[in-house]
Symmetry: C2
Subunit: 410 residues, 2 copies
């Protein structure tokens, strides 16, 4: 008989955001008159930059004419986009990558979920805690995370707590691990690492022969000087790190689907016998076999984010959200809450009042104000005692939510 | 140290179509004046149907306005598209599926490559031979195919030869296997199974507790009455089969990326202890964790293929290609070649002249006529002695290619 991959059965039945959606629906049914303000899920609300809209209309028209029609594109992405990436995202920071090191995809979530295929199923791994659920869930699915222990942690996963106590700067693992996921600016805490702090991770990886998966999906929100935009700003990182980028939050592509992954040619992993194997051709083979490229129309939209107009428009959208973040930081702090993030990130990580659990505070906030947050513990054990709020709403909703919270908490 | 997934190292370095591209490039450099006609790779050349173009422009405009902007969509696809699929692709054939059984994706290649994640790595498998390389390669990557033996076959794969000798109707395996990939209308041979023939496979699967992955990417090309469009036309198939569909060849979406996969609720696989596990929620969990939905703009284009205008336009494109197929069948037969397929399929499977190998005939054709084919042996051992030609070119190219072949072969 066909045997099921039993690792899947270890997964919790629901994805965090489905649990939240259910609770919100219950609230809506019981409180039909209370208007909801959703600051929970990290989805954008601003429309696409006009430069992207224009590029897409043009690309759609090309698809209407046999002479300019585009069929299968390169699995790795079109040269026009890869060149724009190299020229705009890397060269200005002194990072020199070749086109063959960039893999355009249908989004960071796909790449984050699939990248583990390149590694043996039994590599040990570490994550910062709290963390984006995909890093853990995708490893549960292939057995890499081990078994769920009584303390709610997975046996083959090292958890690196990030809390107010360590200023959200995780300590290096006290033993060696094979694979570490890092996300900076961080989802969910909204905090960052300085160049010096990130260097410690690269040095650890170089010393311990560890592979870093660096998720830089929120790079565009960095405003402070000492925060690296790419892990490749750190010397030696090309030998140990894969970097994942996204247009979702940068330019509002959550509904269009486009991101990219950098797999440097110097990056290797080992066979059991110790032979070094370059990961770049392996990821290329993976993508050529199980993926067929990103929509031509979408890639033209991504390219347009790098035009002078596109850059201005992207910047304006980011500033719009960061203005929200600024208001939220001020108001939540004034309301007596402990607030982190929101400076180089669209996420605010908010400590719950003393002794109140994440889910409890989530429900209190929902029922008292109609504002939807995300319970921090949903991102991992160290998220207990926090909720995440996002700055992706409209100015009006954001203002209104802050007023409701202030009235409630005073 | 991070250990590599050594199964990847068993893969041949190159994907078939990269090998071909290299040989074609060599020819172009040495024969710069000979104009090429590409009938090798299965990419479409007709522009998108006007109904799709119109739907995409409209969807792009929606993305330009905050009031109609679409961010994250459902990982499973939008209801508007799923309802159109149920209403048009299934209900008219008496097949009743629920919306939760349809998973819209960025294309059949992704789903075909990823579906194996739901199963234990050591399930035994069978493929028809010749076959679409993704079925085998994606299983090599996770170790399921076993090791490559001296005869060029994988140890855990049962090969079911399809040749002129058995009229391209594969025999059922003479032992039980856990997983079988079937593709009808077939890529590469262009042949089909009748309802009665497909029923034998469903019955085998029901008797042997075998999972069938049924790739129906070329369904739109079916013209004969007795050829099933969906495996679910066969009684009992929902208990044993996953069906994969694509808009790529149907409506020219190779550059847009959209397809869908049906995972019926009745479909189960077993744990080692014999417990039955429904695969539908597992695939849902996989898609929610490692995929973030298909572009809203693309899904609106897919929806438009089901409008009255869209249906007419899709039909016209299919007829365009099938007119090519008809000319090719006639001319190649007149030139003394043995020709299969091309009736319910855009592919023609052409026997090489007695004693000439696939690669040899591919090169002879290329150097004598400038026509690019695909060597049949690239699709598996039983493809030796054949080449594949596609009907996806323009009428003009197709006519010209046939004239060149006739002159060369006379």
């Amino acid at each position: 008989m066909a045997l099921v991959n039993e690792h899947f059965l270890k997964l919790r039945g629901n994805y965090l955001f489905s649990d939240i959606a259910k609770k919100v629906n219950t609230f809506r049914i019981t409180h039909p008159r209370q208007p909801l303000i959703r600051l929970g899920i990290g989805d954008v609300t601003r429309p696409l930059p006009p430069a992207c809209i224009e590029a897409m209309h043009k690309a759609v028209d090309e698809m209407a004419d046999a002479a300019t029609f585009h069929g299968y594109g390169p699995e790795q992405g079109y040269d026009f986009l890869i060149e724009a990436i190299l020229k705009n995202d890397y060269a200005p920071r002194g990072i020199h990558l070749s086109p063959a090191e960039i893999f355009v995809s249908d989004g960071a979530k796909s790449d984050t979920g699939n990248i583990g295929e390149l590694l043996r199923w039994d590599n040990s791994m570490a994550i910062t805690d709290p963390v984006y659920p995909v890093y853990v869930d995708s490893n549960i699915m292939c057995g890499r995370s081990g078994v769920l222990e009584e303390n709610g942690q997975w046996s083959n996963v090292t958890y690196l707590p990030c809390t107010a106590e360590n200023d959200f700067v995780p300590a290096l693992p006290d033993h060696r691990v094979d694979l570490i996921y890092l996300c900076y600016p961080n989802n969910p805490t909204g905090t960052t690492l300085t160049r010096e702090q990130l260097k410690r991770w690269v040095d650890y990886a170089l010393e311990n022969d560890t592979l870093l998966v660096f998720d830089a999906a929120y790079e565009a929100f960095i405003h402070e000087d000492d925060v690296p935009h790419s892990i490749y700003e750190i010397r030696g990182a090309k030998r140990v790190a894969i970097e994942i980028r996204s247009y979702s939050k940068t330019a509002g592509f959550t509904g269009l689907r486009c991101g990219y992954t950098v797999v440097p040619k110097e990056l290797t992993a080992a066979t059991l016998e110790g032979q070094r194997i370059a990961l770049n051709p392996l990821w290329n083979r993976r993508q050529c076999t199980k993926f067929n490229g990103t929509s031509y129309v979408t890639q033209r939209a991504a390219e347009a984010t790098y035009t002078p107009d596109g850059k201005e428009q992207v910047k304006a959208n980011i500033e719009y959200y960061m203005a929200n973040a600024s208001v939220m930081r001020r108001e939540l702090t004034a309301a007596g809450l402990r607030v982190y993030g929101g400076v180089n990130s669209p996420y605010l990580w908010v400590g719950t009042p003393e002794g109140t659990g994440s889910w409890k505070f989530f429900e209190q906030m929902l029922y008292n104000t109609g504002v939807v947050s995300t319970p921090g513990v949903g991102f991992g054990p160290s998220g207990e005692g926090y909720v995440r709020l996002t700055a992706f709403g409209t100015h009006e909703d954001c203002q209104e939510a802050m007023e409701r919270l202030r009235r409630w908490l005073k």
